[in-house]
Symmetry: C2
Subunit: 266 residues, 2 copies
């Protein structure tokens, strides 16, 4: 990098161009530092209104950053040049709820009735926690964050219903308080934790057995904090088994031009 100033706006666009050219096909974690990355859900228009209302009813697991119009693969609110058919490194294509393909490009699958939904992702609040000097144990261990199905129901909308899924990060008590303060500033990316300590109260019986991700031990001098997780809508959609649905592959997100700091409400 030397002394040349980094054009960080260019950096997000450049990452997307490399993704579009097929040069990046894996995880986006750490790319375009400081930029918002989004969870991707693409549904036929017939399901769009119910899913949109599901997000409105459940803003903590489903914080909507942008919704496209039917058939339009642009999303100028998140980046002037975004093309939803090519700009996610790897997609997952579901037919009747069954995973049928994991392409790096969905131009051959695009339809005039498809609607794109971009949901905020924990990368943004993890960025804010790291910027404040906190340590994320799962990251230090090189593991995925542990995620759990809870006994907390989401508010249903049309066919969409199911339990809230949470991700867990543990901190010493004073840092747990700081983590609540920091993530409270970011309601657009899951916001404050939904639960702290006492996992059994939300139906989590064994922290060592996450339903998704990797187990990460909670030391005796730390408390587990639970945040609403973007896996919630994915699990809910999997239950609905829509005729057709496309999502990002896990960890392979849409890189946007928004800065994480722009999502802070104060």
């Amino acid at each position: 990098m030397g002394d040349a100033p980094v054009n960080r706006q260019g950096e997000a666009q450049e990452i997307r161009q490399r993704i579009r050219r097929g040069e990046i096909t894996g995880h986006t974690s750490g790319l375009a530092s400081g930029r918002v990355q989004g969870n991707v859900v693409i549904l036929p228009q017939v399901l769009a209104a119910d899913f949109l209302r599901f997000c409105q009813l459940n803003p903590k697991p489903c914080p909507l950053l942008a919704v496209g119009t039917a058939g339009d693969h642009a999303l100028p609110a998140l980046g002037a040049d975004i093309d939803m058919r090519t700009d996610v490194p790897r997609y997952r294509v579901f037919r009747g709820g069954v995973l049928v393909e994991e392409p790096t490009d969905i131009r051959h699958l695009w339809r005039a009735d498809l609607v794109s939904f971009i949901l905020g992702c924990s990368f943004s609040f993890e960025w804010a926690l790291l910027e404040d000097g906190l340590t994320l144990r799962h990251m230090a261990l090189g593991r995925n964050v542990p995620m759990y199905r809870t006994s907390i129901p989401t508010a249903p909308s049309g066919p969409f219903h199911g339990p809230l899924v949470v991700s867990m990060r543990s901190f010493r008590p004073a840092e747990a308080i700081r983590a609540v303060q920091i993530t409270s500033r970011f309601p657009g990316v899951h916001g404050a934790p939904v639960h702290i300590g006492l996992p059994e109260l939300i139906g989590v019986r064994d922290l060592a057995q996450p339903d998704w991700g990797d187990a990460v031990e909670v030391p005796a001098d730390e408390l587990p904090l639970f945040w609403a997780c973007g896996v919630t809508p994915q699990a809910v959609i999997a239950e609905v088994k829509p005729e057709f649905c496309i999502t990002h592959a896990p960890g392979s997100m849409l890189v946007t031009d928004l800065r994480n700091s722009q999502l802070a409400v104060f």
Copy 2:
């Protein structure tokens, strides 16, 4: 009250006038609803600089709302008519660290070298928690909040040093997160908790045996939250045993014209 609009500015002034006339000599809890009440410390000028620096170093237990000038019994920052010699319902007078008198008026004791310090009090953040619909168990039980000496040292200044004292209120996990958010808005009245859960980590071995106040049970589905407490400077001053010192009697605070909501930083 009927339909007449309440002049709440007048209410705080009127409470002080009744205190001044000796008509109110006890607790001020619940008086002049929504107005800030303050802890009172009056020290000889020879100790004022060290105590002021102690407050600056320890803003969570010692949130300074106002400091008078030596010999001046007015405090216009907190109320145009305040007279520190008459406007606290009941005072405590210490000589060499020994409680010698609990008068309702200190005009006969006032000296040209006395400096008044007013520190924020938990009544303000408790008001904010109650306004948000949270329940304070100690209040529901008609008890004083339990307070504990911790293993956390304050930052010393001159002769002033000693452990942090905390007050404890317990909440169910989601309400505990809400309580962190609400009290974070009020750094001028102790602010966010300093600790949550795991009392042994801050040297509190038995919640059932508070060092001050009354024991209040923590149900199995709640977490104890610990806030820095205004008893900290009182305990620290008691150790210093100053030649002369006047404080408010417990629960018998200075009622100011400030609104609690004015202390919210966002």
